[in-house]
Assembly symmetry: C2
Homo-oligomer: 360 residues x 2
DNA sequence: TGTGCAGATGGTAGCGCTAACATTGGCAAA
DNA sequence: TTTGCCAATGTTAGCGCTACCATCTGCACA
């Protein structure tokens, strides 16, 4: 009695604890603990009773107590640089959700490009970080990955799957996505399809271009170098690339840009030249950022499941850290999630008289 | 010895604890606790000794243990709906930082507009939420604020300061910001200044318009209703509003939009009409979202310190929750942070021959 | 019938910290 | 001096959970 009175004085509001559940289910707290951690060696009937008690009491475990007792405080650092805010917010949302699930602490750090990344990582490591999550474009930096590997810091990247590097990654199949987009344009009836690449210094730019070429080849359309303009992922670079394409003796009937910003820039240039989109020109993007639905017409694009990706990345990272702490060997995993083609207003068949046929 | 061996077995990596610091400083663990929580009643010399020990040992408190012992698990819910991702990511960044500081849990929840908000809040409350942070445009909903007040849920809003409502808020002075922007345009030499409002259903739209009128009046420029077009904060609505302004017998020399999206739309319409920005038309935005630096020319706009605002909001919220748990009465506070005018490429004096004079 | 063993469960002792109370020493008022 | 009191510090007992081991049960096998 004395104990419970004191306990009540300490506690700010009545909270259901594991012991309450244990009493209700007629087992020991330890068994309840085993059930909520889905460990083995619990009889089904016991498990059911405990679960019922948990439900009836509306019990949810105290995270602080759990991580204190299991001494498993995990802090992961999400490192970014120049990421678009759309990307960042979606990433954060996914990460936050999963981080809660795993009772992990999330620290978000920005750095000024790759050069600065090493310093930032050192700082964070000193601060007690147990793992790092890299988002594009940092995920594309071999130097950085090597550094992290040397230091033996558990790392997961969102983005390119750098084969040979023993670092887990979560990505979509960019090549296949670019191919899907190009096939979609071909299906619409386009034959003269322009392409705006991303910044050549990032791997993903080359990969997306390959997807475009794959689709052309598969459809028996000759690949023409003059239809490929080099961009750098920025709106500004999209403006220039689009101008190149418009300067061609014969303007393409469709332009597929390697991201939404360059697609938006292409639409803007088209409008300035009084070319109707999609009436006279189809424009498509990539990434499905906010911009794709901001501009008018809204852009047909490829959506990456960004939140799901960071969700999965945190899961991978946390499990990896736990495994390595438990002395188990960690396999590095590469997850590829599904993308989808989002059809909007910026795409149509090359000529108006053909009725617009939608893709499934 | 037996004890420490067992402890070592439990712990995954050696960690400096408060007791280590206490031994080093020659005091009791409790005194160390008092120092790190900056409580009173500690002699300066003792405090110095403890701080030295902390530094030498590189001690940092275990958050889990702390929140377990103080039974002060605080979970705050950041509730948003239709927020732009720029806004959201900046808000998240600020909130995450402060949440870490306070050892508070952050739960982020999205809801489908105000109607859905009540349900979401109920769910979250059931999940053990101890406070709510509302970001625009939800922060503008009186119904929602009333609901939260009735339920006695500690709440802080980022955005409009709803006087009379006993709910804390963090905001910038929108009226003054809009006035500053208009004064900047007047200072540039503009006299015929168009204005595109935000969605009339949000308070902030009216407030920003008032700032615009304030500046005109102060400069002795007659306010003309035909120069004010109604937008709804979206790119699309900006397109329409800009068309209205361009349909005027005499086109304004500057257009001040109530956010960046509508400013970007205005630029796009201008380009379509072969009106040079800023040569023939100055366009300004509001918010300094990513879009402002994405389009070309980059947009002169008002920057809100979004991260600082959410940082402050979490601080307010956490302190409020602690105070109310400790039985202290909570004063509701209204913080107003500073905005700044960011001058970029979309603004210039009305005629080319006048040299461009910059604002401080 | 006894032995061994594995699976299921319980008991104990902390994880690192702080609330609450106990104690100490010093100094002003009586 | 004695009393009283307050500021500075220490002691104790948990916060809610889990690692580790002990125990117990049932059952296959000798």
């Amino acid at each position: 009695m004395g104990k419970s009175r004191r306990a009540a004085a300490r506690r700010h509001y009545a909270r259901v604890t594991i012991s309450d559940v244990a009493v209700r289910a007629g087992v020991s707290p330890m068994t309840v603990s085993r059930v909520i951690n889905s460990e083995g060696n619990v009889r089904d009937s016991t498990r059911a009773a405990v679960n019922a008690a948990i439900r009836e009491l509306g019990f949810s475990p105290n995270r602080a107590a759990r991580s204190l007792a299991s001494a498993s405080q995990i802090q992961v650092c999400l490192l970014y640089a120049n990421s678009s805010s759309t990307y960042l917010s979606a990433t954060l949302l996914g990460a936050l959700e999963q981080v809660r699930e795993h009772d992990t602490q999330l620290v978000v750090a920005e750095c000024d490009g790759e050069a600065d990344a090493e310093r930032t990582i050192n700082d964070q490591l000193k601060g007690g970080i147990s793992g790092v999550l890299l988002v594009p474009p940092l995920a594309d930096s071999l130097d950085l990955l090597n550094l992290l590997k040397e230091r033996d810091v558990p790392t997961v990247t969102i983005g390119p799957q750098l084969v040979g590097e023993r670092i887990s990654s979560v990505t979509i199949d960019d090549r296949s996505a670019a191919r899907t987009m190009t096939e979609y344009l071909i299906g619409l009836g386009h034959r003269r399809i322009g392409f705006i690449t991303g910044d050549p210094k990032y791997l993903v730019s080359e990969v997306r271009k390959s997807g475009y070429r794959d689709a052309l080849e598969a459809a028996g359309i000759k690949w023409r170098p003059e239809l490929v303009a080099t961009g750098r992922f920025s709106y500004r670079s999209g403006l220039d690339a689009a101008e190149c394409l418009f300067a061609l003796p014969e303007i393409p009937t469709a332009i597929s840009a390697s991201n939404d910003e360059m697609a938006a820039a292409t639409i803007s240039v088209a409008h300035r030249r009084h070319i109707d989109v999609p009436g006279e020109l189809t424009v498509t993007g990539f990434d499905d950022t906010l911009l794709a639905t901001t501009v008018w017409p809204e852009i047909t694009t490829i959506r990456q499941p960004i939140s799901d990706m960071s969700h999965a990345a945190i899961d991978l990272l946390t499990r990896g850290i736990r495994a390595s702490r438990a002395g188990r060997d960690t396999e590095c995993e590469h997850l590829t999630l599904d993308y989808s083609l989002i059809e909007r207003e910026s795409s149509a068949p090359p000529v108006r008289r053909v009725p617009r046929d939608r893709i499934a």
